[in-house]
Symmetry: C2
Subunit: 260 residues, 2 copies
């Protein structure tokens, strides 16, 4: 299981200010801290970028690349920003992402073919709603894959995100367990070893008992690891969850983490 940092986001005040002032310093500092904490990839969440999308995403990518050579994920719904980011990346970035939402199919998905990159597909309905059961998620996965194939992409370019629900949702617990089963089932369903990613921070987002949030995060990441999750998008400053991922990688044989 690879660790993708979700820490670099424009919703953070310090990052928003750095972007506004075109100051790469705070971005570089954050990225260095993420890499030191054990991140294997960096997700650049620029938001929709309604103003100056191309310049802003290019600035973000350039700033990150001054601090690290880790692979990048470009996380925006704005196709202009996405294209600028893909052109600015020194190595191939992952597009994060598309779904059955019509604007994503029309404007984001084709970029994966044009730039020959991997792309994350979210299991969401065309109206952006989240499927409420495992069966619904798998049905959406089949439809998503059909659209992906129609876009003339190769199976190994697809990364599926089943959408981890917050536990505060009314049926959050049962949906969270559905997601584990979806991760386990996807390779059989699509008949190839499809790569999977999950946003671990989603699980405990919103109000909740702060001391217990890490416990839920750690237990859940272990369940996902056993189910075969490939990429954990997470807050890499959560030391307990990072250690849990390393232990899971040892247990599942993905990676050696010293035991004795």
């Amino acid at each position: 299981m690879q660790i993708v940092a979700d820490n670099l986001t424009i919703t953070s005040t310090s990052i928003a200010n750095a972007v506004q002032q075109r100051d790469p310093g705070p971005i570089m500092d954050l990225v260095r801290r993420c890499e030191a904490a054990g991140a294997g990839m960096i997700d650049i969440n620029s938001g929709p970028l309604t103003r100056a999308p191309a310049e802003t995403m290019a600035f973000l990518v350039e700033s990150v690349q001054k601090a690290t050579s880790l692979p990048l994920l470009l996380d925006t719904s704005n196709p202009v920003a996405m294209e600028a980011g893909l052109m600015t990346c020194r190595s191939k970035a992952i597009i994060n992402g598309f779904s059955l939402e019509p604007d994503k199919l029309t404007n984001i998905l084709p970029l994966a073919r044009r730039f020959n990159t991997r792309i994350i597909g979210y299991l969401l309905y065309p109206d952006s709603n989240v499927p409420t059961s495992g069966t619904e998620r798998l049905t959406v996965a089949l439809e998503l894959y059909a659209r992906f194939v129609e876009a003339e992409l190769a199976p190994e370019q697809l990364i599926i995100d089943p959408v981890v629900p917050p536990l505060i949702w009314p049926n959050g617990h049962s949906q969270a367990m559905d997601v584990v089963q979806v991760i386990r089932t996807l390779p059989d369903l699509l008949d190839f070893r499809v790569t999977s990613i999950a946003g671990i921070s989603n699980l405990t987002s919103g109000p909740g008992d702060a001391p217990r949030k890490p416990v839920f995060e750690q237990c859940y990441v272990a369940m996902l690891a056993e189910a075969g999750l490939d990429m954990a998008l997470m807050n890499v400053t959560h030391a307990g969850t990072m250690t849990a991922v390393q232990a899971c990688n040892t247990l599942t044989g993905t990676k050696i983490f010293s035991w004795i």
Copy 2:
């Protein structure tokens, strides 16, 4: 997932001394601490008891019953001690346990019918060796269940322990993952919702990096919980693992553990 304390064992010096001096105090203290820590059942591990087996097991059971009304597991290979324990228990105890080992089939298994109790069956070969793969464990489970049915016991009396391997074994990691899959598969294999138990402390027994042992234990218990494990036999003084079990019970819907 129910929590069974594995803390009461005659291999502990204080318990061995208490037994020798017929002093119920230390036993009662330990049991009270286990119950306060969240144990839902108490395993009484008396060892084989070569001297005075009936009197000693009766003393242990009486001492425990002075401190708690929690359900008990009687953990001995000595049929005389087992019988004495079963007769001394106020409520029905669980026999821990039998396997394909000939002396267990001959001397322990029939006690479950005689006392109409539940009994734990270990997935071990007749020569006491541990199966080395998931497939081997499932093959043993089929044979074990056949012997169990021959003994005229009802399916709901059976509790299967797939034998958690220590990670220090040469193939410990892969066997540990096999055990998760065995827990998941057993109900389909035997065609009824068979109850399962796993000895969590086994995973990190022996030498190892002390600070990392709890992380492995917590991740592993989460994987087992997701696979459907019913009973975790564990050291209930491991606070982190206890909290993990509670979080897993919330996630899997077994039990409500306050989230907000």
